[in-house]
């Protein structure tokens, strides 16, 4: 698709706030006056299953990111991040939250979560993988549940989202209030500063 469009995949596990993150990104894009379509698939489980949300910004109709065309992948959990890389390409920007939620399929086989080296090997085919500890950032901001907002902040600092920090702040204000809002605003700015060498530029600040 043309460069004017942005294709984002958000992947994680049910209960991690993947859909909420999708709506915040979409709302931010709306605030910037862009057209957005978002699609969510939950599967059968209320919690604990794989969840992916596709967000497409630009002149598009179908809500699903075409195979190989993801510009940005926001992974909330390591295995789920890698699983969604299949829909990216070598140039896809990836933010991978260092959260490891072992699927029960492992324990049933008396196995453990793949170790760090193995996970790194799996992402070797992609140049721009940024690993961040979003849960810690969230905790520092006041609540580990704000990890999703921290991930959005990090994505913004990479210059891969076609809207400004202030658009996300407006989206957060639309979504939350009171203490939760404060925590999320803080998580956003901490996330924004979390990737080394990615200092906020005036353009996206």
């Amino acid at each position: 698709m043309s460069r004017l469009n942005t294709n984002i995949i958000i992947a994680g596990v049910g209960g991690q706030g993947v859909v909420t993150a999708g709506t915040i990104i979409s709302d931010a894009a709306s605030n910037a006056g862009l057209k957005v379509v978002m699609s969510e698939i939950h599967g059968l489980a209320q919690r604990g299953g794989s969840v992916t949300v596709d967000v497409r910004i630009g002149n598009v109709e179908s809500p699903m990111v075409p195979k190989g065309e993801a510009d940005l992948i926001l992974g909330f959990e390591e295995i789920e991040t890698v699983r969604s890389l299949e829909r990216g390409n070598r140039d896809t920007f990836v933010i991978m939250n260092l959260e490891r939620l072992p699927p029960v399929s492992l324990g049933i086989r008396r196995r453990e979560y793949p170790d760090e080296q193995e996970m790194e090997r799996k992402t070797a085919g992609i140049a721009n993988v940024h690993r961040i500890d979003a849960n810690r950032i969230g905790r520092e901001a006041g609540n580990s549940k704000a990890s999703g907002t921290a991930i959005i902040g990090a994505a913004l600092s990479l210059g891969r989202l076609p809207f400004a920090l202030s658009d996300v702040e407006t989206a957060l204000r639309n979504q939350f209030s009171g203490k939760v809002l404060e925590v999320n605003l803080l998580a956003l700015s901490k996330g924004f500063e979390s990737i080394p060498g990615k200092e906020p530029t005036p353009a996206n600040r």
Partner: protein, 623 residues
């Protein structure tokens, strides 16, 4: 204004970022709906979740009905009393409602009636991907198919107008990618309709006996002919041109989105006839579209519904256009489409380049994450106990018959306790048949909502005809899988008002079953012997496994500010692995050779601490 208030009271021209199903709810509100009913089912559930929250403030009636058939009958009653009514369901729910729909199309309506079906191509959360557009043809009813949330909202209003114009129910058909798509939606104005229900039929108006139905049938055919004439001119259908417009395309619904993206990406010279009203088909318009193109592609998901119509019309009009679709094998006959699927199907005929790059990483050896029951889910305890009870009772050839709900996940490892699972209520119907035909002991699993929905007639049948089976009703006090909706066993109704719950045990006893017990699966040590006792019974026995859904319990605990988390004492743990291998709560895993419980995930149910799960008594409530 919070989100729900905005959906109810948002001003015309306001732009909201809405889920397709929320947009549909808003459409019903704008149309001045007076009466709305449903049985929850993905991907339609959020329509009901939205309407249930705003109904009282909005001044209309809403209910979660016991099943789709009754929901449709309730809505019909409103429509024949002049009140605009809206009933919505998932695609397979329409099978349950079909008996009612087939007759109400004959008798027709007074006030507008819209029947929404949400189809599920690729079966993300369903047992099949049936194409419900066939129901429009079968019942002789008009049908609208929106492609996105904006159209979904607007089409609801149009559907009401068409319904009142022709005095017949109108079907609104969505699919998962329309119902579960979010995008900006511009709100319209709310029509103020103050309609007092008035039921005053002339003799026989709503009686479908042969004497009157013969007249109804001829009228129905006439109405559909008038609807076709309307469809020829309606702006619900439109043509869009890309480039020279050389290739013709006929499409509808989500397939339109995929096609449009493919056309833009590959710069295809296309003329696209997008049909928004897909029953009855605009025959003359289609014939003239065919006459303008040498090649016409029919692009639609699931069955060749449009394509069959287009080929019929081509034949009748002696069209020479070459038609491509699924019947000739150009497009796939199953599963949802994507822009890539459309482009690669076209690439055999139109000269376009479709990339075939292999993915940058291989995910084949990645651990799978099949859907699981929540941490603390009472169904996990029930399955664990029933499996042990069957083994301890020496029932080696027991048949497990399961049903539709969260507990369907018992199909997967570690329990694998579903030998047969078809549709709502089938656990008891098919289960009792299996007990008759094989003589083996059958254990049927059915949830509370599913029991009320379709479990009672087969239970009567099982008792009446002497099956030998144990029915485990997994009563978690809510319709959980679709997002915690109320059902007849819950002490509040669809508008949040207190109401007397229907007693499941009274129904079971009234059917003639004496062997019925209520037990708490969290209390494994007494639950297990209870199940064993039930398994001894000669006829039909019923165990009501009663414990609220963990999500409800969480909400309640949060409200009270309570929180309990369990932890493993690795000094005591014997590393038998039973908890991860056979009980498999998602909060428990092996970390660096030890068993660990994630405090973030643990729900504090305490079931894993029972010696039947942890024989070393290594698990206890932590600080």
């Amino acid at each position: 204004m919070n989100r729900m208030d905005r959906i109810l009271n948002g001003l015309p021209g306001d732009v909201m970022f809405l889920l397709g199903n929320e947009a549909i709810a808003r459409g019903a509100i704008e149309a001045g709906v007076g009466f709305a009913t449903t049985y929850p089912g993905t991907p339609s559930s959020e329509v009901g979740d939205t309407l249930s929250k705003v109904a009282r403030k909005g001044g209309f009636y809403f209910e979660f009905s016991v099943n789709e058939k009754v929901a449709t009958e309730m809505a019909y009653a409103a429509a024949i009393s002049g009140v605009r009514s809206f009933v919505f369901m998932k695609h397979v729910g329409m099978n349950v409602a079909a008996d009612a729909i087939m007759s109400m199309s004959y008798a027709g309506v007074r006030g507008g009636m819209v029947i929404m079906t949400a189809d599920d191509p690729s079966m993300f959360s369903s047992q099949n991907e049936q194409d419900n557009r066939h129901y429009a043809e079968l019942a002789h009813l008009p049908m609208l198919e929106p492609s996105n949330p904006q159209e979904a909202k607007d089409f609801v209003i149009r559907a009401f107008e068409i319904s009142e114009k022709f005095r017949m129910p109108v079907i609104l058909r969505t699919t998962t990618r329309v119902s579960h798509q979010r995008t900006q939606v511009k709100l319209g104005s709310r029509s103020v309709r103050v309609v007092d229900a008035k039921f005053d039929p002339a003799k026989g108006d709503f009686v479908t006996l042969p004497s009157s139905s013969m007249g109804f049938k001829s009228e129905l055919i006439e109405k559909m002919e008038l609807a076709r004439q309307y469809c020829e001119k309606t702006d619900l259908n439109r043509t869009e041109t890309h480039g020279s417009g050389k290739y013709g395309f006929i499409t509808s619904g989500e397939a339109y989105n995929c096609l449009t993206d493919a056309i833009r990406k590959h710069s295809i010279d296309a003329s696209v006839y997008k049909i928004g009203m897909t029953s009855p088909l605009p025959e003359e318009e289609i014939a003239s579209f065919l006459s303008l193109h040498e090649s016409v592609f029919v692009v639609e998901e699931l069955d060749p519904y449009l394509e069959s119509g287009v080929r019929r019309i081509a034949q009748m009009h002696s069209s020479t256009a070459r038609i491509y679709g699924k019947i000739d094998g150009i497009f796939p006959a199953s599963f949802e489409y994507s822009p890539e699927v459309v482009a690669s199907s076209l690439s055999g005929i139109i000269n376009i380049e479709v990339g075939n790059e292999s993915p940058p990483v291989s995910v084949a050896d990645l651990p799978k994450r099949p859907p699981v029951l929540c941490p603390g889910c009472p169904h996990r305890a029930t399955y664990y106990a029933v499996r042990r009870a069957a083994r301890m009772s020496g029932l080696s050839d027991v048949i497990y018959s399961s049903d539709i709900g969260c507990y369907s996940l018992g199909t997967y490892e570690p329990f694998e306790m579903a030998d047969v699972l078809l549709e709502m209520g089938s656990s008891i119907g098919v289960g009792s048949g299996l007990s008759k035909v094989t003589g083996r002991h059958v254990i049927a699993f059915i949830g509370d909502s599913t029991f009320y929905h379709a479990g009672i007639p087969p239970l009567i049948n099982a008792v009446r005809n002497g099956s030998r089976m144990t029915v485990v009703i997994m009563d978690n006090d809510i319709t959980a899988m679709t997002g915690q909706q109320t059902n007849p066993g819950v002490p509040y109704d669809g508008m949040g008002q207190p109401v007397k719950p229907v007693s499941m045990e009274a129904i079971v006893r009234a059917v003639g079953i004496d062997n019925v017990v209520v037990a708490d699966p969290y209390d494994l040590k007494s639950f297990l012997p209870t199940v064993m006792k039930a398994l001894k019974s000669e006829g039909v026995s019923v165990v009501i496994a009663r414990r609220e859904c963990a999500i409800l319990r969480d909400r309640e605990m949060q409200r009270k500010g309570e929180r309990v988390v369990y932890a493993v004492d690795s000094g005591k743990c014997g590393l038998c692995m039973n908890c991860v291998e056979n009980f498999s709560c998602p909060a428990i895993s092996i970390q660096e050779g030890k068993i660990a419980i994630s405090p973030d995930l643990c729900d504090g149910c305490g079931v894993c601490a029972e010696p039947i799960v942890c024989p070393f008594r290594a698990i206890a409530a932590g600080e």
